[in-house]
Each structure stands twice: as structure tokens, then as C-alpha cells.
Amino acid sequence: MASASTLTKLRYRFVPDHVIGEILSKKWIDNAIPLLVLVCVVAVFGMLIPNFFSGSNLSITSRQLGEFALICIAMMTVILVGGIDLSVGSNFALGNFMTLALLNLADWPVAAAVPTVVLICGSVGLLNGVLIGYLRLRAFLTTLVTLIIVRAVVDMLLLQYVQAMSTSFYQSDIWDLIGLGGLFGIPFSFCVLIVVAIIGHVLLTRSRPGWRLMAIGGSRRSAHNIGLPVRSTVCAAYTISGMLCGLAGVLYAARLSGAGSDTGIGMEISALTAAVLGGNSLGGGRGSIVKALIGAIIVLIMTNGVLRLGLNSGSGPMVLGLTLVFAVFIDVRWLKNRDKLLNKVYVSPTYIELPEPVSTAAGAGNALALNDRLRDVEIIGLAAVESPEDVILDEDDYLYCGTRHGDIVRFAPPDYTSHEVYAHIGGSPLGMGWDKDRNLLVCVGGMGLYKIDRDRKVVKVTDETNRSTLSVVDDSRLRLADDLDIAPDGRIFFSEATIRYEMHDWPVDALESRGNGRIICHDPKTGKTHTALRNLIFPNGICTSQDGQSILFAESWACRVSRLYISGPKAGQVERVLDRLPGYPDNINRASDGTYWCAIMGMRSPALDVALRMPSFRRRMARRIAPDQWLYPNLNIGCVIRFNDRGEVLESLWDQGAENHPMITSMREHKGYLYLGGITNNRIGRIRLDGRDKTWSSFRSYWGGPNVRHAS
């Protein structure tokens, strides 16, 4: 058994299951299946066809690819916006013919002929665009019509000029370079493709027109409703498609210098196959240049390969057709199931063995023994605040708390019956702290670290930190800033409880119990933010120690409190302060007598402790049953403990019925009272503490001030 559990431990230590979910949540994962198909196709044809990987073959193939991939990008652009362009083949043929005609017959220079051809083909695209974008004709029928008409035009022109064209021959160095040469040994057409692809990629993924294109493809109506110029964008997509066809036609003309009636026949089918095979969704809104390129390479290798294998004439289209069916099938299944799959595999529990908890039995006689000292908690602001995770008081005894509506609410002394919205931040305000200048610093779940200055102005302090080197998802943004405290030198240390869950399902992180959290340090002097400590198990409460040399932090799901030295000889070191807690520690704050208060937000249940040692059990549970039914930590009852720097628990305050003040996530001692906050509560509690310093306040403990203001 021992060896089995060691194996489990090692397996969960070294196999990062959570990465699967993170990879699946990335957008580029859509390329995984097309890329796999590409690798297979290259491997199969590489084996079947001799000299497949030879330099000359690669050169020829890449020259063809230069033309074909441009057509595919043209098709992709249109598909992305939710349409289809069947006229690419005939437009391509038109481009080819026009190039040859302008050069051979009209004797134009290359520099003039090429842009003209691109514009002519672009105008065909524009025609499509006007009909489809502005006049709202069906894309399929419209482009089918252009396919036929343009093809007819090309055939008529060919009939008239083919004789004259075949007898003349255009001679120029640039033309030879385009058709036969290349740059640095790379075929010219391939260079053009690379340039177009890079520009296209940047446009699509990093520019406003590109985003609009995708938005319109994703949902035309929504795009219209938010005020995007749907018609002109659609029209532009078809025009770009036409221009790209023209460019491809130029390259084709330069390579073969011949116009025939079979040029570009069936090309729309190949391009469509390539676009879909690459993973561009036919429904629109989902696609990329990379996908188009992958599709183009697959289709080109397959059609060429089938040809070179010498199969009979029908087999090429047959292979293509079957591949298209396969691609559409995969596309539909993937689109439908990707989110389902992600939902199922995202929660990835790991192994954690919690030490036996300290007994809380009423008769145990230790400091944690159950009692009812919190039964008579006074209630403040019942139903006026929701989710006051943290509470704090200023020197004038005003009481502040955050709410889940993103407000900071302030209660007025001495009876705390009247309240006002002190400031509105948004997000879920969690831990709070005063800096030296009496600005209120607030950790806001979902947003980051914010500051409310004395004029009630809300200022963002930081919402990002340095990105970890090996992280799959971008972990530089702060997802769940939780609690903060300020060191004597002004540095702000705050915890980010988890980087894998949003504010509304933070308890799910307990199912994982992995070190998903971190402690981040912001230095207001330099304005820099960096991660001080990572891989912590739900770091929650943060408190600067009484001597200012270290910060204490609670790791909730690990049921322990540790200390991080921030200055002095041991700076940077971490040591354990408190362990074997019977519940999950939350915020930590200073007490008046040089000790610390710590809120226990929930209690451990033995059945969950056993499950924590069985990650596969928890993983299956997360997949099989509804989230409401998952085994959770018991967050319905908690307590407050007081401990000292040596890690000794000195006392605990309980309410066994947990009726008056159901849940406790934080507490502040202030002038003889203890104020309580709880994240699932609709109230704040306070209780008088006997025998405590009635003049002590947290602000003065940090930043000094007049010693006695109210004689007591």
C-alpha cells in the first residue's frame, strides 16, 4: 500500500495533467488535427513516391504551392466571413490570361501589367462583394454565376487571342525571375506566399479589420447589432479574394507562359477542400492563415502524389472528395465536442496528503476545542451587503467592506447602522489594507490590485505580473487577487489564490488542491510587479509580521500557515509556522497583543481528506457528476483562531450552530472589538473582546500615530 501511494505521489508530481485542459483551452489547438493529417500525408507519400524529399521535387512543389496556397487563402478569407467563393478558379484563369495578354500582346512592362491584373481580378471580386455584401444575394449562387460568366469570358477571349498569344513571346529578366528564379534559392512564388501569409496573419489576428471579419463570420447579426460595418466588410473580403486570385494567376502565367481552356478548372473544389481540411469552419468565424496553408499543402501533396503514383484518372478527385468528407466530419465533431471535452478534462486533481488535524472536540482541552464564544455576535448591515470577504476600519472607526457588486461600502460609527457606497470598483473586492498615506488598497477578484485614494478615486495599481517561462496559458494577468498586506518599506505583497479558476468557482480549486496560486509583490516605488512565490496551494491570507521582517501567508487547501522572509538575513526563505489545522485558513491579521488572528473559512471533513489522496477518484467525480454534487470542503462553518509567531494556537472562537454569522473569511481587531467578514454572508459581525487593548488599531500598528486618542 505504501509503495502504491508513493507511486501515485510520483505520478502526480511529474505528470502535469492540468496542462491538457490548458492546451485544449488554447485557440491554436484547432490546428492539431489538420497538422496531424499533414504529417500523415507527408509520411505516406514520402514513402510511396521516390525522390519525394529531393531538392528538385521540393522546389517544384513549393513553386506550385505558392500559387495554390494564395487561392486557398482567398477562399479562407471568404469562408471566414461566412461566405463561399466558387469563382476563384475562373478568376484565376482570367488572371492568367490577362497577364499573358498584357505582356505578350499589349507589350506592357511587368511592373504595370501585374498591378493591372490584380485590379481586374479584384474587380471580379468586387462584383461578388457588391452582390453579396450590399445586395444580400446568396454567396453560393452568386459566385456560381461569376464562375460561369468569367469562365465564359475567358473562353471567348481565348478563342480570339490564343493564336496571336502563342506566336509571341515575352522576354524580360524580371519575368524570368518570377517564373523560374527565386530569392536565396527559394522559388519566387513561394516568397510571395510567405509575404502574403505574414501580412494576412498579422491583419487577421492583430488588427481591427481582421477581428471584424471574424466577428461577422461568427455571428453576422450580433456584429451588425454592435455596429460593425457588415456590408462593407463582406464586400472587402470578396474583393481581397479576387485580388489574391489575380496574384496567383500572375504567378501561374510566369511559370507556364501558356493559356489554355483547362486552366483553373476544378480549382474552387481543391481550394475549398484545402480550406476546410485545414480546419477553417465552413460556418465562418473560425479560421486562420496557418489553417489555410496546412490545408493547401495537404491537398497539393495528395493531388500531385496521386498523379505521380500513376493511378487512373478518376482517382485524384476521388481521393480529394473522400478527404473533404472526412474533413467536414472532423470539423463538425470537433466544433461540437471541443468545449464538452474541455469541461470534462479541465478539473485535474492532484495528490495531497493532509496531516491528521488537531482535535476540535469540545472536551479535548486544547485551544481549538469547540465553544460558543461567537454565538452572541452583533450583526451589522444585515441584507445591506453581500459577500463582505474582508472588513477593515480606519482611524475614525469607519467600517469598510467589499461586496460582490463591486462596491466598497462604508458604515458610520458608532452604531454602524447607516452605510454608503464609498467607492465602486467592479469585480469582487476581497482583501483590503491601508497604506501609509491612508489610501485603501483592495485586491479585486477578476481584476487585480486597486487603490482608492482619500478623494475616493479608484486607481488601478497593477493587474499583471511577469509571465512564467513554461506556462501554457498566459498567467501574467491576475485572475483572483485575494488578500494583501504592506511591508514597512511600502512594498505590497498580495496573494493570487489560483490561476486556473475564476472568482465564481474558486471552491473547485479545492478539488484540485494543486499549487495553483502565488504570492505577488508590487513595489510602488518602481511601479514593477513580480511573482515572489509560486506553486502555493490556494494562498489566501497575507499579513506582515509584527517585526516587519516577514509576511505570514495561509495556504487554504493545505491547511497551513507559512512565513516568507522579505528582509533581513533570511530574505526569500520560507518556513512553516502553523500546520495540521482542522480547517481551511483564510485571512490573517494582526492582534493587539503581538499575536495574529486567522479566520478558518471552512472545516475539513474526513471523507474529503481520504479523497484528497485519490486524485483519480476526484477526477472521475468531476467528469461523471454534476458540479453541484461534487464533494466540497465544508465552507458552511468556520471559526477564528489566534496564534503567535511560534505557531502556537492560543485561542479559538466558534459558533457551532453557525446561524448568527454563518461563515468567516476575515476578522479585524479594532479598539476592543473583533469585526468579522464572510464571503457567502449578507452581513458583518462584531463581538467585544474581553481584556484587550481598547485603544489599539491596526492602522497604528502598521504606521504609527498618536498613541491614545480616546482615553478609555
Binding site: 471523507a607 477518484f617 458552511n636 454563518p662
Partner: protein, 364 residues
């Protein structure tokens, strides 16, 4: 081979046998608060085993039997049995059969043992239900041969199917087994034609057996909870007490042998992930996500390990109406229910209470 592969695939994908689906409380079982809010309730620790006699009701509270007028009024202690009473039945001529410990006692209306009747010399341990047949013989349900009555949760988690049904001829004390390998038979009723209705708790169903113990039909299947005693209703149908709810988590744990073994070995049984007669009394009990209180309120539809439910079936075993005490309520763990004096009398073993619901109240 293919079956094995299919099981493996099912286990991986959570289909077939590995699917954890729980029937919804729907139709006639739509939740209400009629049981929780019923006006009449008398405290009685571990109240159980309600039965109707000619002079009123009797029920047990641990080792003591109480008499209770069927119109209400205070209960009076009637007989001390010593050991906790596990089952009770009253015959047509007011003979009371009491199962306690490993004995079955037969008592007349005067409280004295009926010496002329006998249950034989063998010990009768683990009796979960008793019922007199029309011919005067006594039907006895043994919940589990492997686990004691207070270990019923272990029996469920072990997949217990060692229950049995017996018939004792009281005239000569001879007994014979009618059916074996039952999944915790927990309630018996007898039909007009002599057929026997048995609730099988771990299979969440009710069976109809012939007089000789042959299974004829599964009259109720896939109940949303674990059934207990059955008693006749005033309209020719039946009242079925449901002592604990099913939940996805429990169904899931039942399919996880490694976790189940570790949990049973290391955790006290009141803190197991298992159905319970009462819950919410200790923070060490397992809690499920939906039971997280928000703004100090536990949602009544929260997942819970205990529940209070009585269902009325008509004579064709179609559910007609039900009375509920939902998550966070007190009147949980309903083990027996009888209809008398225009009221439905119910024992909430988990809540330690005898409750009466005026039947004019309806229910749905």
C-alpha cells in the same frame, strides 16, 4: 470478452453501468414542505415502527413501545422491551409481533406474551420488517445476514445482497425461507390475494412476490430514495416510507471500490459518503457543492444525505402524492408511516419525532 471491453469503455466514458443518474423528484413526487411543516409532532428518540391496533397506534422509541391515540393526545409508555425494537406488526386479532435484538416476541393486547404461539427456537437477528399474512402466519424480513442493523450503511456500501424473507407458522413455530439474496428487504405488505409486497432498499424498488416467495413483478422501480416500510392506505393503495435520498455522489462512490474501502476503514461511519437518517449536525460530515450556503441560506434543493419522504401509491403502484421534508429540514429519515384517524402518522427516526399530517392537506 466483448462484455469486458464494453464495461471498460463504459467505465472510461461514464456510460451504461458506470453512469450515475438519479431520478428526479417529479410528477407526484414534486417536492413540498408538508411533512416538514406538519403541525403535530411529538419528540421520541429514534421513533420507528408505527402500527395500528384496534385501540390506537403503537410505535417504538428505542427499547420502549408507546401507545398513541389515533386522534392525537399524549402518548403513554406501554411496554419496555429492553433492546431497541427493529420491527413491529399487529395481527387481525391484535397479536403484536415485536422484533428486538435477536428475538421475536408475540404479545397480546394485555401486554402479556402469548405462550400458545411460537416463532421457533432459532434466533431472529437483523429483522427489518414484520407482517401478518391473512392465514395468521408471520412474514419476516431479514435485512442482511452479513451486517448488523446498525451497520446498514456498510451493508449498502459493500453491495449487500444477503437479505431474506421468511414465513413462520406461529401455531407450530416452523419457519421456512421464501426468498433469499435480497438487497436489504425493508418493508412488507400483504395483498388481498395473498401476494407479498416487499421493498428492497438497496435496489430502490418494490417487488411483488407470490405466496410461496416467487418474484412475480417489480411493481416500483428506480425510486429516488431508499424505501423502508410499506403500509396500506385508506384508498386501497400503499404508503411507502423512503428513509434516505439517493444522490449522484453516493451512486458514484458505490462505483469506486478503492475509495469506498479506504473511507470505510479510516472514517467514522457517521461521516461516510453514504445515505443517512439525519445530517447537518457536524461539520465533519461530507458536504457537496450545492450545499454551500449563500447569504446564510441553504437551498432546499441542495444535495443532501438525508431527506424526509413518504409516498402514496394507488393499488396499481402508481404514485399519487408525496410528503417531503427537504434539505436542511428536521423531519428526516422516515422509516414508517400509517394512516389512522384521518391523519398520516409518520416516524422520523432521524429527527426523533412522531409526526401526524392531516390527510385533507392534500399533497401532490
Amino acid at each position: 470478452m466483448s462484455a469486458m471491453l464494453r464495461d471498460l469503455a463504459d467505465r472510461f466514458l461514464g456510460r451504461g453501468q458506470a453512469a450515475v443518474t438519479v431520478p428526479a423528484l417529479d410528477g407526484a413526487l414534486k417536492p413540498n414542505n408538508l411533512l416538514e411543516e406538519a403541525p403535530i409532532g411529538f419528540p421520541a428518540a429514534s421513533a420507528d415502527n408505527l402500527a395500528v391496533t384496534e385501540t390506537g397506534l403503537i410505535y417504538s422509541s428505542e427499547g420502549t413501545l408507546y401507545r398513541q391515540g389515533s386522534c392525537g393526545g399524549p402518548a403513554s409508555a406501554w411496554k419496555h422491551v429492553g433492546e431497541p425494537v427493529s420491527a413491529l406488526a399487529v395481527s387481525a386479532n391484535d397479536v403484536v409481533a415485536i422484533a428486538a435484538g435477536s428475538r421475536i416476541l408475540l404479545i397480546g393486547p394485555d401486554g402479556n406474551e402469548r405462550a400458545e404461539l411460537s416463532v421457533g427456537s432459532q434466533p431472529w437477528a437483523g429483522v427489518t420488517a414484520l407482517c401478518f399474512a391473512a392465514d395468521g402466519s408471520l412474514l419476516v424480513a431479514i435485512g442482511s445476514a452479513r451486517n448488523g442493523l446498525d451497520e446498514w450503511q456498510r451493508d449498502l456500501l459493500d453491495g449487500g445482497c444477503s437479505g431474506s424473507l421468511w414465513r413462520i407458522d406461529l401455531a407450530n413455530g416452523r419457519s421456512h425461507q421464501l426468498a433469499g439474496k435480497l438487497h436489504y428487504p425493508n418493508g412488507i405488505a400483504v395483498e388481498q390475494d395473498g401476494g407479498i409486497i416487499v421493498s428492497e432498499a438497496w435496489q430502490k424498488r418494490v417487488l411483488r412476490l407470490s405466496e410461496t416467495g416467487k418474484v412475480i413483478a417489480q411493481v416500483v422501480e428506480d425510486l429516488p430514495g431508499y424505501p423502508a416500510r410499506i403500509s396500506p392506505s385508506g384508498r386501497g393503495g400503499y404508503w411507502l416510507s423512503v428513509f434516505a435520498p439517493r444522490s449522484q455522489l453516493i451512486e458514484f462512490v458505490l462505483r469506486e471500490p478503492a475509495y469506498r474501502k479506504a473511507m470505510m476503514a479510516e472514517v467514522d461511519k457517521e461521516f461516510w459518503i453514504a445515505p443517512a437518517l439525519r445530517s447537518g449536525y457536524s461539520f465533519r460530515e461530507p458536504m457537496q457543492g450545492g450545499a454551500l450556503k449563500q447569504m446564510g441560506i441553504l437551498k432546499p434543493w441542495a444535495p443532501t444525505r438525508s431527506y424526509g419522504l413518504v409516498v402514496e401509491f394507488n393499488r396499481d403502484f402508481v404514485p399519487v402524492r408525496s410528503f417531503h421534508s427537504r434539505a436542511g429540514g428536521r423531519r428526516h429519515g422516515i422509516t414508517s408511516a400509517v394512516e389512522a384517524g384521518g391523519k398520516l402518522w409518520v416516524t422520523s427516526k432521524g429527527g426523533g419525532e412522531v409526526v401526524a399530517i392531516p390527510l385533507a392537506a392534500g399533497g401532490n
